[in-house]
């Protein structure tokens, strides 16, 4: 390939990247804005903190210890009488629900919270909830993800499973982004939402089999639990870390289905209300 050809191709792909528009801004600018907002978020939150982003890992670890101490023996029979299985099941469930609660609650307040900024500088509205999910994802990838990778490597000795972990993380991000867009838009109209949403997060946590096995749930309630978008993600994560096998296509399929559904519904709701937001923010 001649040098001229190479330059042409490089310029072509470079301009294509700049031609992709998200909410009125070119991709490059959008990503830079995202980066700057994520850094602001993390720096302000962990200012002077010793453990910083690692708190998002320490919290589920400590909670797992507490649950195992209290519920470990009662539920032992459902986990083949292995405490390790219970520990892993509780930990994986906690990690997912914690990520969900933190990222969506922060996304909820993100547009309204930046109202004064939005009234003075032209910025794409969608970048705010996205930056909250991105900040939490960064924490996850730096703190929890390495630990989960080690666990799955120890159980399965198969590097391919890390790819599985990445897919699940991506899916979790999708679900939370969709819900994040939805609640951040709703909050603009209904300023009571945070109180209500606290309860929603609790219900999601309680209905995801985190500290109890799914088997103890009576059948008529089980169908209601299926409404929880996180259940399939937690299932996939457990398959990976507990049994050491790459999650089955069915589980992955269910997980990605809820991901794409949440993302489309949230994104469309956000886009439909976007033009009305500036008057109320």
């Amino acid at each position: 390939m001649s040098r001229q050809n190479f330059n042409e191709r490089f310029m072509f792909s470079h301009t294509i990247l700049n031609q992709i528009y998200i909410d009125g801004e070119s991709l490059k600018r959008y990503l830079e804005l995202l980066k700057v907002l994520v850094m602001r978020n993390l720096k302000v939150r962990y200012r002077g903190s010793f453990l910083g982003v690692y708190w998002s890992l320490l919290n589920p670890l400590m909670m797992t210890v507490v649950y195992t101490a209290i519920f470990g023996t009662t539920f032992a029979e459902y986990y083949d009488n292995s405490t390790l299985n219970y520990v892993l099941a509780a930990f994986t469930g906690l990690v997912v629900t914690n990520f969900y609660s933190a990222s969506t609650s922060q996304a909820l307040a993100s547009i309204v919270g930046n109202g004064s900024l939005l009234n003075k500088i032209k910025l794409p509205l969608s970048v705010f909830p996205t930056s909250m999910i991105a900040a939490n994802s960064f924490q996850f990838l730096v703190g929890t993800f390495p630990l989960l990778s080690i666990i799955s490597l120890l159980t399965s000795h198969n590097i391919l499973n890390i790819l599985g972990l990445l897919l699940i993380t991506l899916d979790l991000g999708l679900v939370c982004m969709g819900i994040g867009f939805f609640v951040s838009t709703l909050y603009i109209y209904f300023r009571d939402l945070p109180y209500f949403y606290e309860i929603v997060c609790f219900m999601v946590w309680i209905s995801s089999p985190v500290f109890y096995p799914a088997a103890i749930v009576p059948d008529n309630i089980k169908t209601i639990l299926l409404l929880n978008p996180l259940t399939s993600i937690i299932e996939a994560l457990r398959e990976l870390s507990l049994s050491g096998s790459f999650p089955s296509t069915l589980t992955l399929g269910k997980a990605f289905l809820s991901g794409f559904l949440a993302m489309s519904l949230g994104w469309f709701f956000f886009q439909s209300q976007k033009d009305n937001m500036m008057d109320l923010v």
Partner: protein, 253 residues
């Protein structure tokens, strides 16, 4: 001569915030009681049409609440018109309430990068300009200090330095030129003169008729969202002042 800003029959309706209830509870209850009303809107900008040529220095005057800042926000793209079309050609540098994007807990350098990116600089670009910005604002010693440690004058100087570190095609000023101590004011005057001489298109909102008559070629006089006069500086200011005195007369009666 080409047009850089053009408004055609632009109108803007905005929600009147006082009547809208943000409570989920109140809204649901009012729905049940059958009293639910769609929120009312107010016409804030009424059928504006005008155009600004490249290199013109245009002042915008009017009473408080006439719609001057709203018009600037429409031109910057912060608000979208309900009707009509706004066309803008060229890069805009908006100097509207400098320092609005600053986060008090972050260091000055972090804020420069964040504010710069929000204003439209690329990250690489703004990083290269950090030193020249700190120098102009005379804040080199405060580079790593959190912004909450700065006085309000310092914050304004910082905002001004960041926003004026470019050569934009269109500069928009919303009553921001009176910050800082005497030496800084002189520096900012020199900077503003640079812009004035560089054939940039400038829109200024000001209440100082003296400043406007010294610096602007044309003036737009707004009243309650409509254009009362758009033309030469002298005539526009004359119209504005006579409208004020007729108001005073009607009050005295």
């Amino acid at each position: 001569m080409d047009e850089v800003i053009r408004l055609d029959n632009v109108s803007l309706w905005r929600r009147t915030q006082e009547e809208f209830s943000y409570d989920l509870k109140k809204t649901v209850l009012s729905m049940f009681e059958g009293k639910y009303q769609k929120s009312s809107k107010r016409l804030v900008i009424k059928d504006l049409s005008f155009s600004i040529q490249k290199g013109e220095k245009v002042g915008i005057i009017g009473a408080n609440g006439a719609g001057k800042s709203t018009l600037l926000k429409l031109i910057c793209g912060i608000l979208k018109p309900s009707q009509g079309v706004i066309r803008v050609k060229g890069t805009i540098s908006p100097l509207i309430e400098l320092g609005a994007g600053f986060d008090a807990d972050l260091s000055v350098i972090d804020n420069i990068i964040m504010y710069g990116v929000m204003l439209g600089f690329s990250e690489q670009d703004i990083k290269q300009r950090i030193n020249s910005i700190l120098e102009f604002a005379e804040l080199q010693e405060y580079a790593l200090a959190p912004v909450k440690a700065l006085s309000s004058g310092m914050v304004a100087r910082l905002g001004f330095s960041i926003a004026t570190d470019v050569k934009p095609d269109i500069l928009i000023l919303d009553e921001v030129l009176s910050v800082g101590d005497e030496s800084f004011r002189q520096k900012s005057k020199i900077k503003m003169d640079e812009f004035w001489n560089a054939h940039a298109t400038i829109l200024v909102v000001s209440h100082s008729m003296e400043f406007i008559s010294q610096s602007c070629d044309k003036v737009l006089f707004l009243k309650k969202g409509s254009v009362v006069f758009y033309g030469s500086t002298k005539d526009a200011i004359h119209t504005y002042i006579s409208s004020l005195s007729s108001q005073v007369e009607s009050v005295e009666e």
